[in-house]
């Protein structure tokens, strides 16, 4: 019974699929944006590859760019002030850095919303109280949280770096429907080419404490390195532990293989 019934069921599915094949158009709808969309440019960082390490100077510069430029619109919800101790700051520096921020609090006498100086255990405060406020201030666009941005976008750090350095005038042959509308800015690394964020960086926008020249490319690369760290502060440790575990297992595999061969030595199989 199973075989004849199965045969009929199979024919049913195949008939439905054949009809589907012959009714589906074989060409895709043209997508002009595809032609102008560019793949992200590669950004090499010390945290890449099989032997990653953090370039603390670069991360500190990146944090400065975030604080002085990006933080005006973008939150960094998952990062606490205490975390930046890992960027090479002393406990005292972390404390005074935190103190420079006002974080939401409650007035202990009246219960009214208030602010107080930040503590190391506090998180970077968000620039807007909520999504509605953020959209209202940004022409209905929502600036995304940056804590995980290098993991939350296809292309990762390369995409973030390319986007920051990719603002340009639209090419002359850009079709009219792809031209940036008012309040939008042309960027070929962005999926639909037109981005609500205005070019955020300009040469000399920040003054680096270590004397590095603050070009757009330098700032973009620094802040991207910082955002790689915020997305995964345990990255370097992870790979180090990975090496230890892998080497251990290679030795174990050799021993286990020898043991296996020994036990089977007198058996043909």
């Amino acid at each position: 019974m199973v075989r004849p019934l199965g045969f009929l069921v199979g024919l049913g599915f195949i008939a439905a699929l054949l009809c589907a094949i012959f009714t589906t158009p074989l060409s895709n709808e043209p997508n002009a944006a595809h032609e102008f969309h560019k793949h992200p440019r590669h950004l090499a960082l010390s945290s890449d590859g099989l032997f990653p390490r953090w370039d603390l100077q670069k991360l500190q510069r990146g944090m400065q760019v975030y604080k002085e430029v990006c933080s005006a619109c973008h939150s960094l919800n998952h990062v606490a002030f205490r975390d930046i101790g890992e960027l090479g700051y002393t406990e005292g520096q972390v404390k005074s850095f935190a103190k420079g921020f006002q974080v939401p609090s409650v007035n202990p006498d009246t219960g009214e919303p208030a602010t107080r100086d930040g503590l190391p255990s506090d998180y970077f405060p968000a620039p807007y109280a909520n999504e509605v406020a953020a959209r209202a201030a940004n022409n209905n666009a929502l600036p995304p949280d940056l804590s995980l941005i290098t993991k939350a976008r296809e292309g990762g750090k390369d995409y973030v770096y390319s986007l920051l350095t990719g603002f340009q005038n639209p090419p002359a042959n850009l079709p009219k429907e792809l031209q940036p509308a008012t309040g939008l800015h042309y960027n070929p690394y962005f999926a639909n080419l037109n981005l609500a964020m205005a070019p955020p960086l300009s040469d000399g926008q920040v003054t680096y404490a270590d004397g590095t020249k603050a070009t757009v490319d330098q700032m973009a690369s620094d802040v991207t390195a910082f955002l790689v760290w915020t997305a995964e502060p345990k990255l370097v440790k992870r790979v180090q532990v990975g090496w230890a575990a892998a080497l251990f297992l290679v030795i174990f595999c050799v021993l286990a293989y020898l043991s296996y061969r020994n036990i089977w030595a007198d058996k043909k199989h």
């Binding site: 895709n28 575990a245 296996y260």
Partner: protein, 427 residues
């Protein structure tokens, strides 16, 4: 049941004797995976994957219990609690990445285990029950993996839940009420997340229970082997311990090495970037894809684009996707050939490799956006998938002429060694 020449458990120390009288648990283990279980001597490395699947299940249960100590199943904080695990919990990043990639390793191992069974005819009599229980485990795994993927409450979690529960709305009349009942709302939210968490915690233990039945059912006829010829006498077998414990130990080492490379060096390789964006019910990602182990089934789902007969395309897709797994329950009866191993089935062997290629193709189609040529390829791939099991297999098993087979496992082993020897001699 076991072969008459199986070694008997004989406790030596008084304590073990006492235990054997009161609760013969060591005897059970001895007969199940110890020296008391005679196993064909000619198993190849593809027979490692059963034990490896068990190891993967254990890893998932252990890391999962630990993660549940820190995770909060509430739509408001679920995403943050996962990030809390990644950043603040001691070794939390390791445990979370191990659990996330452990799921992928579990599926890799189980897929190899299934295709091993298909190649060597392990689903056939007298092992039909082993196969049926295996398909039940596979279904439970898929349900567990799907609900686990919802828990981080990222964009893919949310939209995955939306799409998968949307399958049910394809059922006429009762579909929409069922969907609302499953979700406890009109879209995935707190109620859905909480019940998914509850079931995601429960199902692995159900899987473990069915695994015990799977092994029990296996021990009645004993293990299959690459020749597909049943065990005839003692020289066909070796005791499971130490022979196969040693071999599985080596296999486990290789498995763990792969697992470590994935978890520590490229933990997000098999994941999707969008799941690091918190769930947003108002904005769909440009391109929704499930986890890789669902890609072939997702391709089958999307392949049906035509309202054939009185059933609309959406319902066809959903029926076909469930049918693609459900037909595995009938496999032992669809294939009527008495020969098990593909080694002696020249025609079946060719179609087996076509099926492997077909499933890989469907996998790629499931990953790709619904654009040409992927749509037409998934339609062809899905058509072959159903044709393979429901049409080709019954016909092949009727018309095929099996190759000459050795009389016993031992004869096959000795013939192989004689070949090796003469090859060595001529060399």
């Amino acid at each position: 049941m076991s072969f008459p020449w199986a070694k008997q458990y004989e406790p030596q120390q008084p304590l073990m004797k006492w235990l054997d009288e009161k609760l013969p648990l060591p005897r059970l283990v001895y007969n199940a995976v110890g020296a008391g279980y005679p196993v064909p001597r000619n198993l190849n490395y593809f027979w490692n994957f059963g034990v490896l699947a068990g190891a993967a299940l254990a890893i998932q249960i252990i890391t999962g219990i630990v993660l549940a100590m820190h995770y909060a199943a509430n739509a408001g904080v679920a995403f943050n609690s996962v990030e809390h695990i990644m950043r603040d919990v001691n070794a939390g990043w390791f445990i979370r990445y191990a659990h996330m990639n452990g799921a992928s390793m579990f599926f890799i191992v189980v897929y190899l285990h299934i295709f091993r069974g298909l190649y060597y005819g392990s689903y056939k009599a007298p092992r039909e029950m082993v196969w049926l229980l295996g398909v039940v485990i596979f279904l439970l795994m898929m349900a567990t993996a799907f609900m686990g993927y919802v828990l981080p409450w990222g964009q893919m979690s949310f939209w995955g839940a939306q799409v998968i529960t949307g399958f049910f709305s394809a059922i006429p009349v009762v579909g929409e009420p069922i969907r609302v009942w499953l979700l406890g709302g009109f879209a995935p939210d707190n109620a859905a997340l909480n019940r998914f968490f509850s079931l995601h915690y429960l199902l692995p233990f159900v899987i473990a229970g069915v695994v015990i039945l799977h092994i029990w059912a296996l021990h009645i006829p004993g293990s299959n082997n690459p020749t597909g010829i049943e065990v005839k006498d003692e020289q066909d077998t070796v005791p499971f311990h130490p022979y196969y414990t040693a071999k599985d130990g080596f296999g486990l080492g290789i498995f763990l090495l792969m697992f470590v490379l994935l978890t520590f060096f490229s933990p997000n390789l098999l994941g999707h970037a969008d799941n690091y964006i918190p769930a947003n019910p108002l904005s769909t990602p440009a391109h929704i894809v499930p986890e890789w182990y669902f890609w072939p089934f997702y391709a089958i789902l999307r392949a049906f684009t035509f309202n054939f007969l009185w059933i609309d395309a959406k319902l066809w897709g959903v029926i076909a996707m469930f049918a693609s797994i459900a037909l595995l329950f009938f496999l032992p009866w669809l294939d009527s050939s008495p020969v098990k191993s593909s080694t002696y089935r020249p025609l079946y062997k060719k179609f087996f490799w076509v099926l492997v290629f077909d499933v890989l193709l469907l996998g790629v189609c499931g990953k790709m956006p619904a654009e040409q040529p992927w749509v037409v390829l998934s339609q062809i791939g899905a058509a072959y998938y159903f044709a393979h099991f429901l049409i080709i297999l019954p016909i092949v098993s009727r018309i095929e002429r099996p190759a000459p087979m050795p009389n016993s496992i031992t004869e096959a082993v000795l013939a192989k060694h004689a070949d090796d020897m003469s090859a060595a001699a001529t060399a």
